[in-house]
């Protein structure tokens, strides 16, 4: 299982799902109406490292974070 967390203002509980790579995750999340506006501008981290391509395999225990636009200070 892969744990997917939605950070900051997305306001959605983490989910644990069975996906093998980011393409499958994209497919899975595309059905989620709550996320529609967020996925367009959110970045993705796998095990706390940002990724910029969907060509990433996922294994049991991996953690994915969905990060909306940031603004510190």
């Amino acid at each position: 299982m892969v744990k997917v967390e939605f950070l900051g203002p997305i306001n959605k509980e983490a989910v644990e799902i069975d996906v093998k790579n980011l393409k499958e995750l994209k497919e899975y999340l595309s059905n989620d109406e709550e996320l529609k506006g967020w996925l367009e501008n959110s970045a993705v981290a796998v095990n706390d490292k940002l990724v910029t391509s969907l060509d990433v395999e996922l294994k049991d225990g991996d953690r994915v974070a969905v990060l909306p636009p940031v603004c510190g200070g």
């Binding site: 900051g8 996925l39 367009e40 990060l67 510190g72």
Partner: protein, 143 residues
């Protein structure tokens, strides 16, 4: 050194502590930056979420400079107008490179630190989407 505080950062005690810690390490300049919450658009304050694992990771690259030491503190939760949500200090041998590092550091912080800001207005906590910046790779999960 990266520190986080629930609510406003205690400015003077934190700066004093950093000054005492590094004043004998050969730095001739300590340049502080104090980010104060402004009363823009009738807000009562700001509020912040931060994601500490990636914040620490982001800060690592600023901890390995040969000629500069950077310390920072940031708030999570609510910070009212007049309080400080972001504090940093740059220590260098001379002021010139210190001002350069300060500018680069704060720019990188604004663009890449995993922190989310909200306005506190009329009892509500509203995401400051107009001031937020997309991180690298944003949108890859969008269809």
């Amino acid at each position: 050194m990266l520190e986080v505080f629930k609510g406003g950062v205690p400015v003077i005690p934190t700066l004093e502590r950093w000054y005492e810690e590094f004043k004998l390490e050969g730095y001739g300049a300590m340049i502080p930056f104090i980010g104060i919450v402004r009363p823009d658009n009738g807000i009562e304050g700001l509020s912040f979420d931060l994601y500490l694992p990636m914040l620490n990771e982001w800060f690592k690259k600023w901890q390995n400079l040969n000629d500069c030491k950077i310390t920072m503190a940031h708030s999570f939760g609510d910070v009212m107008v007049g309080e400080t949500s972001f504090l940093c200090a740059v220590f260098t041998k001379h002021r010139t490179e210190g001002f350069k590092y300060l500018e680069e550091f704060v720019e990188d912080f604004k663009a890449n630190a995993p922190i989310w800001k909200y306005d506190l207005k009329d009892g509500k906590r509203i995401f400051a989407s107009d001031r937020a910046k997309e991180l690298p790779g944003a949108g890859i999960l969008s269809s």
